[in-house]
Amino acid sequence: METCHQTRNPFSDAESPAVGVTLEHVSKNFGSLMVLKDISLTVEPGEIFVLMGPSGSGKSVLLKHIVGLELPTSGKVTVAGHDASDPATRGKVRMALVFQAGALFNSLSVYDNLALYLREHRIATEAGIREKVMRALQILSLENTARKSPSDLSGGMRKRVAIARALVQEPQLMLYDEPTSELDPVMSATISEIIATLKDEYRVTSFVVSHDRSLALSIANRVGILMGGRLLTVAPPAELRDPQDPVIADFLNPHIDVKNPRFKQLES
């Protein structure tokens, strides 16, 4: 694992400590439904960790535990040594979460969506805010959308605006929930490049939840496979190109059989 001790601010080159994430025996129940089962995991500072798993396996719920949106039924989540369930942690560690559907504020323009964090935390003057916002929009090829309402954008564009909004927060820890879903292959590649650049250039720790096998295997330092609420394995991408475990192999390299008896039943 590459050692890195500082994250560099993408907008000002200021430095702050890189942060790691630790989950210790985390379980989560919703009523009688056990969504996460005894998850223990450490994400190193400056690492890109990709969590993969089938739909409904608990990936997004786990992500919400890291930012403190969900509290574990048992176990503990820490970010840079601070308890993630404590709201004060969000004041100590700059975290940004890119939601799957964007979660943009529909009552604000794209520009104001990006400027909200900077204004509320009084991080820069209006001129400084404008510079940061326009630069983030430029990185995501969104300069022409600044005055538009999020409701006027396509799903893919909204996702890019959500990533731009996360970028202006100059995070030490970036969390992505399906960052490449709804995106075309070119934009997916751009997002992958952005995640990799944030790590290589700015030492930002990234925790990515994704179904995108190519993204996971191309940019991740380590990949975790979550199935049925259990973390089956954590391994470098190279080890997952040809996994030995048949369950993981079936998930990562699904075999499509058009002669499957189920299709025959449908035809009849």
Partner: protein
Amino acid sequence: MKQLIAILEGIGGTLRLLVRAVAFAPTLPRQLPRFMEQCYQIGYTTLPIVSILSFFIGGVLALQAGYSMESFGAKEFIGSLVGLSMARELGPMMVAILLAGRVGSAIAAELASMKVYQEVDALVTMNIPPERILVLPRLAAVIVMMPVLTIIANLVGWFGGAIVAHSVDFIALEPEKYFETLRRFTKFEDVANGLIKAEVFGFVVVLICCSIGLNTRGGPREIGAAVTKAVVVSLILILVLDYFLTQSLL
């Protein structure tokens, strides 16, 4: 038992929301644009319907009072009846009911939608407390706008009563006489009591609607359910609080 627990949880959650919102009160000067926008929504956009309804409530009161009092020669007291009824009861009550139906439902719908579509979660992850920017400006705005709306409702209701009392043939009461008895029997304390009621009603309606909106879980169907719940709970609370406030202010 489950329903009782849900009610107690709702009360606890609402009080917690209130404490959190009030804790951010020092940030209010920084939120002047949001406060002004809420004043516009709560005050200006509600004003036409408040005026129309108050006018006709005043008119109906005068009509009913004229019909009853005319038979035993006490029609000059219509002014006092309309004045006291509007100031002590109907003015604040009508404004609060309109606030619940018009503004409260909109608040619940907006916040429930923000919650369901994860905008509230996005605020939390950005370390921007939703209570600070979504609840506090609304509470501050309703505190400022409720007395204004209630005074306007009282005035319009009084004038509505005067016009009806003068123009209806079987009453035909001179406006001078109407306003003379209105002035004689409607004291400043009566208007002040009404304003206290209006403040309490408005504050509770906005707080309840914010709380229900921010605690919505699920999908689009739950947004509609949250709006219905917010309006129903607000109306019930207005009537219940009205009884206790009236009793304590008598």
